[in-house]
Symmetry: C2
Subunit: 337 residues, 2 copies
């Protein structure tokens, strides 16, 4: 039993009070050209005084545009996304769009539900980050006929992705230069494509230096703080332990360092660790984390620009890939003798 909250004042109310027709009010409020400047002034003032606020739902009914875009995020706590969101918002606001976030919790059903909810509310377009249903989007496009841009899903035609393979290469090359030969990789089964590309970068560097890829040194995590201890255990149980670990992301790296300390392994003296993302937190960790920087703000910004193009019906769109960079701090050191 929902209360119909006090009806907000409409264009009709203003019209009545001003002794003009609703259409005149509408035109005045939208700075329509052919209308006397003085009425425009007068109406604007009245609207202000009466506390008028236009109804986007009503307007959208006729304009077919809610001036709202939906952004699917995994978690609010996903610090990787903070800057991405800022990038999206900056570009959206500049173009008169509002951005509404909704979290999918890295769950296929949750993600579908969010998309459905966005569509029912007739958002102008959707940006999805951390999708769990990657490849289904091409087909989904028929069910939800609105522009959708994916972040970090390079197989989708409307996508903006950071150079995962390149970033991984830089990280592993750095470890190799420090003399490491037994380098492990802890991946993330929840992030299929990014995981694959980072792993490929890892393998490529090893092969280029004639280091055989040891499958025992490749284990899976879940990309979360709490998911690092278990895959690390496998690594520590090996007859020949790795001297360096390249992690799918910073959270995994921090989880790993935490577990290593508990096991009495010193970082970086006994074991080097590299993360991925360059979360702010990493710089404040002890030791400060060596990691790979993603162009997060640009990721969001470019995604929004792409979405705007799609909203305008343009179709001259190519998937984009943005550069990544190594940030060396204190969790990497020369390999122990």
């Amino acid at each position: 039993m929902r209360r119909k909250s006090a009806r907000s004042i409409s264009i009709k109310d203003i019209a009545r009070a001003a002794g003009v027709s609703p259409s005149t009010v509408s035109r005045a409020l939208n700075n329509h050209p052919r209308i006397s400047p003085e009425t425009t002034q007068r109406i604007a003032k009245m609207a202000q005084d009466m506390g008028y606020s236009p109804s986007v739902p009503a307007r959208s009914l006729v304009t077919q545009d809610t001036a709202t875009i939906g952004l699917t995020i995994t978690h609010v706590s996903d610090t990787f996304l903070a800057k991405v969101v800022q990038g999206v918002e900056a570009e959206a606001h500049k173009n008169g769009y509002a951005v509404f976030l909704s979290s999918s919790y890295r769950d296929r059903e949750g993600e579908m539900e969010v998309i459905r909810s966005f569509y029912e509310r007739r958002v102008s377009g959707i940006i999805v980050s951390g999708s769990q249903i990657d490849n289904d989007y091409l087909e989904l496009q028929t069910r939800f006929p609105l522009p959708i841009v994916l972040i970090n899903c390079p197989i989708y035609p409307y996508s903006v992705t950071s150079d995962n393979q390149g970033g991984a290469r830089k990280a592993v090359e750095h470890l190799f230069q420090l003399g490491h030969c037994r380098i492990a990789y802890i991946g993330n089964r929840k992030s299929h494509l990014s995981n694959l590309n980072r792993m490929n970068g890892y393998k490529a560097v090893l092969q280029e230096h004639d280091i055989p890829v040891d499958p025992q040194l490749i284990v899976d995590g879940n990309g979360e703080l709490a998911g690092a201890a278990e895959p690390l255990r496998h690594l520590m149980a090996l007859p020949q332990r790795p001297t360096a670990i390249f992690c799918f992301n910073d959270l995994t790296a921090i989880g790993v360092i935490h577990a290593l300390k508990e096991a009495g392994v010193q970082v970086p003296q006994d074991c080097s660790v590299v993360g991925f993302d360059n979360l702010e937190m990493g710089a404040y960790y002890s030791p400060p984390l060596t990691t790979v920087q993603q162009p997060r703000f640009e990721l969001g910004q470019h995604a929004m620009r792409m979405l705007l193009k799609l909203c305008q019906g343009r179709d001259d769109i190519e998937p984009e890939i943005l550069q990544t960079d190594l940030v060396v701090r204190k969790t990497t050191a020369p390999a122990p003798a």
Copy 2:
């Protein structure tokens, strides 16, 4: 120049295809009682097949309810909020509401803008966390005539707050029991009310133990990782340094510990540190952080329940205060001799 995206199919389309009137379709889709079960079936199937999705904006025009609530958050990276958001969502979804987040960036104008945007889109209600315009909400209610619930703003009549003073008391009492007498407090100028209450809790415990409150030991931070080093400098410059520091939140605490380490001060041997919030990250920090747990999920859940009551026009509402608890980990130790 926005493209009018391909019109989505409406109840009229279904009506035409089914050879009935639009109202029949509407009734069938809403499980209206007085309609033949077979038509209901038939229409439901057709709607499904044709990929029908109801237009919330259109419906809201007549029902005066968008079944959407707006949640104002400070940042996406504000890990304190993750569980709060989950609490809000759980309760909202259970009642058929969608939750849209929008970030205010702890900025008065930003917050106003978010509220305005929510109102223009005629959300059914709003929940605000981390408000910068606290006391203005009573007056704002006239400008934005819809239900608003605040989190952690106990002076507002529709609010859910965690017991900041109680939590602070537990933290400082813990330090006192460990033998600390020179206990500092690093506050947060950006979070006025919570800051005040935590500081009051801090002062109360000192006074109860006949420890004079030294104003030099009370300094201001900004609640962020990067804002801790500067207030800490003041503390370290004191002729008699504190042996323990109670921080406004976990981010400040981590920033403090980081800076202490750089200054060669050992935590907890030389100086104990306590945070507030119990962010997940704190357990993985080294040393693991002693902190105060806030009932974050419940904060969100109760806020949403309160909002639902308001949406129903009920007015039997009291501000709520939820309990907080001390979590002792490894950043606190007996005071140095």
